[in-house]
Symmetry: D3
Subunit: 268 residues, 6 copies
């Protein structure tokens, strides 16, 4: 369904990247994979470009010839500042700057709930609220969102920034009943982000059709996203296996969960 | 379901008017039809009153004895100023002023997406945003909406202004996947607009249950509207037959589609 | 599903209270019942504590040992000031103050549409709009909501205030098609209010899955509420049995229905 | 400037009441004073009606013959529940109900910052935010505001609810630099509340022209209020005499100041 | 201060037009005057072009050679539909369409409080609220505002729409204390509308520095408007000469004043 | 007026830093200066700590012993990515992380109009709108703002982020008439940011009392900021010396001025 000829998929060897590869040519006629390590089982419509995001020349080489990018790569959770800086901040800049130089038209960015993790669970927020990151990782996500905003406003490169909740095989704790995004729905969300006629710069939330929700995901409607899975189907199982949390525990109080309760990475 | 005795349906010979006639007595015990030309196959609960909207006396005669009006009549797309002025602006005034003189209680008005056509497709809007017409046709729609607001505030005549997207047998281009309103859903929307206990002055959007959406249609909930069709069912077909547009083309960028890309009628 | 050991249910002998008792241990391991008169058919997981809400010591005794309260008790419709004052205002204070003294963690309060009854039916409101009570009864509901807000802000006692529309066996007038809450959905709403990991102080609306709606119930999503019944199923029946109202009648114009049309209790 | 013939001023013997008496006939042609104790120095345009607010018949007698009320009376700070209940809650009801029975047209009510005391000082709020009382006293203020809303919506009695900050001879602590209302400005605010052609039900904040502010007082503009004093003139003096507070102390963090830091009255 | 070479001033012979002529070359190097009748005392920087707004050719001729327009012309208060239609609706279209054909860059339009006259006086509104006209005259004002919005969105012609309150030599009734715009401030507002570097399409309110206000005029700040006069200086005089109105009289209740109380022109 | 014992002032040798040094002990009892080069004329209440912001150990050493920081340092306009990364991004992190380790209580950060430079000049924005940076420099400002938000939410370190417009000796172009912040007002704004009892995390705009404005600076009121200078006093001079810009030039259209019109630094 994608109209893009060649799409670069960064972070292709991770769990979400692997799940997205199942979208096949719905991502693009050719899907160029990249990760720190080579990808396995490279299909005929795929090509593999292992690289370090901190290396601008390598990123530039991988971006060349692509007309869209799905950017999942980088440090996927809290880490040391040096790691965040190199992989997520410099890495993010390298992706956007290479995109500008090589005429990429659209970027789908895997942002995160941790960009807004300090909102209370009782608050319903949409994509336009001020960011409230819950970690250096979350701060790096807001950095790339601002970069996307800038490259759209000045250079016209479109971005869908997907603030992904919890993208796992299935919900395993009670917060996941709110934030879970199934792999299938994640694929749909990325495919729709690529096929929507115009996205400009847009922020949408990545969650399945969960009854319990603190996100007003109207921007996902612009994309035509219609989730097919629901964390509700796992509620009994999760309730049976887990204890009720203390509502005053930051991990229970805030949308970001345990990231808000944790201390600083450097101290841990 | 309507509680009205006699409902005037203007534009009854057009495609939407013809579709609405299938609602039969759900519009009113008697449905008075009017258009520039006589209507065909007039049923036993119908009566035909051909007229020119620019002729106040004819309009007044047709309105007399009715307690509600479904006003579809007038120039249905961009046209010369003289046409817009006579059919839509004067025509709209004639309808409201005749309604006031003859004690009509409620008017359902076929407004249009073109009243707000210059909003970006990435913006989610509701019925309370400032209007941004994309054509003289669209300006005439905002004129009648203001007229409806005025006649309610001063004289208590209720209006539902339905900003109809694309009311056709089926979606045929990619923008229709967002804006399509099936004839069946159109009928329901008009019927609910007539049967809701109180509508005051209200603006609602006319769209089917399409996953892709840029309208927050909460006012339709006041009416109890529950669409049964969806453009989603046509997505594969439409994608197969049409090319992806350039996201910077006004026709792709704005909600009004090609009306925003077109030059001025007089120049064409 | 509740994680509470002992839950006090006030107003347990009323129709809604009786319906809620069917939730059994989903409310709490032990459900302590209270009403002015003894409850019937007390089950093994239940214990009965008849009391007057105006009697602080009795309330305090009943609250002791409970970790949550579902507070339905009090005058359930407009009444003389003395009744409202004793049962709803003093009664509400007694519940909260006893809760504070005995370490209760969460209160689910049966507030009412009559706390916001003077909003027009054409207005879509959420839980954060200024209250507009339509009766002394409605004023008493706003009083307890403010009490809940205060006890949360100062003492950390969580409250879900459920503004219940029309909780009856089935819809019997046209306004009920908008405001009806089935007993089954009422049970679910209360159960979810008890089992949600954190609720802080929250206002949600109590309505089933009715197409016709004037409430933006996004806060109910925080609870995971997913109504299973709909007044739509009764629409034909209700339309057949009832007359269309005058849209300028306060009972039709405002969300509170006949409470807004009625004069003052003392004068009636 | 007032167009009212006889205005009842409750709480007339208190400090604010005494200050307001200086407005003389700008309040009304005749000013009827009431307080628990007789007022001193009753002028020729004044008449004295000592009473207990908890006594409905006495209140009714005092209200009879008045066409407007300035209601300052009641417990002016946190107190025991019984006191709050009798003086502020029952007292407030007695004032409004007597007003209804005797045809009073407008009430100016001395509400308080403590009705919204739990907003953070860093939040700028206007009169339409949900109330967040910081004390039982504050809850009683929200009660009377809701009563005023109700009596306006149902009976057309107009109310200006003035949420007064700190009405003292001069600012003496750092929070007063934000919330101070001079007696002179208080007089103007009450006078304007009486002389404005229409007030409906309105909430405005009572503060002088202080540069430091957390209130968006646009509703005061509807009244034409133009403060002449400013806490700024006392800033150096106050800074010299007082210590900087800890920004995490509730008394410094919240708009309500020390009321939010204090425990419960009954426990003190 | 204007950077425009030739500015057309319509309605130049009226009272506001005459007042604006005192701005001299601050409007433009050459000021072309037009009205139904010839203007008097034509200065050396002025040129006179009498015309009927209903005559497109005449309007087009007058617009030719101008790079900006200050459009005051047309029916200045409620009138028969035919008059409103010809002078304000067709006249407005003629101005904009001629502007488009002759390359005019900016239009300053004299809109009116009557475009939003049905807001309550107790509501504070800004320039983005939905219009609520109080007369056919007011409806025609909203029509031209929509036309301005359209011609900016499609053709880039900038518009400042000034919703003028009461532009008279001095306030003479109590509503004027809110809505008065002095001639001096009116001149400043128009001059700033012409000299501001960019205005796009903007709506601002035309009022002097009156303490009593129901408009949030932040858009005027974009223009740099800083009123020098105030209705406050006339308050005592006006209060002395006029009676207090009934707050339930539409003329007192709504922002549009007597226009909301009046019946329909055709009936008067 | 500051209650801080030792305040670190970074960027102390720049023009704004030099202007701020005139605040003397109103910043803190001791003012520790830092810049890349030594500062001149070090006063008795000052101490000089030259350093590179990219050097964490140096920053940490300078922060040690301070209880507040005024952070002006870093690249002050668009620059190469490497410079922005080292000075502004890593530099910003070093300041906050050192603050956390050494118990600093409050940071006043010199953010910039360029964090929101892509808003249209016709839009009035406050401090809560989504950021829209106009340059890599602007993106780095949004990065530090997010860092400040995070360090407050997790560690309680307060931040005032001042989005400074144009802080120069006097306005020299027409955009400065909107954005100018005099040195005197800049000093006051920083002093108030240090002396306000509680600031939490707050964004305020840095502008003098200019009539022409596109910022709703209500958060500055929380600080008690009361500007004493105005660009208005320079308007005639600036208008005389400069040409009117084209309203469609990005430098005229957007709040960020020439930053939005400029290409990318790397290409220049």
């Amino acid at each position: 369904m994608s109209h893009f000829q060649r799409v670069l998929l960064t972070g292709a060897a991770g769990s979400v990247g692997t799940a997205l590869r199942q979208s096949g040519t719905r991502l693009g006629t050719i899907v160029r994979l990249s990760d720190r390590k080579p990808c396995e089982n490279v299909a005929s419509h795929e090509e593999d470009f292992p690289l370090e995001l901190a290396d601008f020349d390598a990123v530039s080489e991988a971006v060349k010839g692509c007309d869209a990018i799905v950017h999942l790569g980088g440090q996927p959770l809290e880490g040391a500042w040096k790691t965040i800086l190199d992989s997520n901040i410099s890495g993010g800049y390298h992706i956007y700057e290479a995109a500008r130089r090589h005429g990429v038209k659209r970027i789908v960015y895997a942002s995160s709930v941790h960009a807004i993790g300090y909102y209370e669970r009782t608050e319903t927020i949409d994509g336009s609220v001020p960011t409230r990151p819950d970690s250096l990782y979350g701060v790096s996500k807001t950095f790339v969102e601002n970069l996307g905003r800038y490259y759209f406003d000045k250079f016209g490169i479109e971005t869908v920034s997907l603030r992904i909740g919890s993208c796992f095989p299935e919900p395993t704790d009670r917060r996941h009943l709110i934030t879970w995004l199934s792999y299938r729905d994640c694929r749909q969300l990325v495919e729709k982000s690529l096929s929507a006629p115009r996205v400009g710069f847009m922020v949408a939330y990545g969650m399945s059709n969960n009854s319990q929700a603190f996100w007003d995901n109207r921007t996902a409607a612009v994309l035509g996203y219609k989730p097919q899975d629901s964390a509700d189907d796992y509620a009994d199982k999760v309730f049976a296996k887990t204890e009720q949390g203390d509502p005053n525990d930051p991990a229970v109080r805030y949308q970001g969960g345990s990231f808000t309760a944790a201390g600083h990475f450097e101290d841990e």
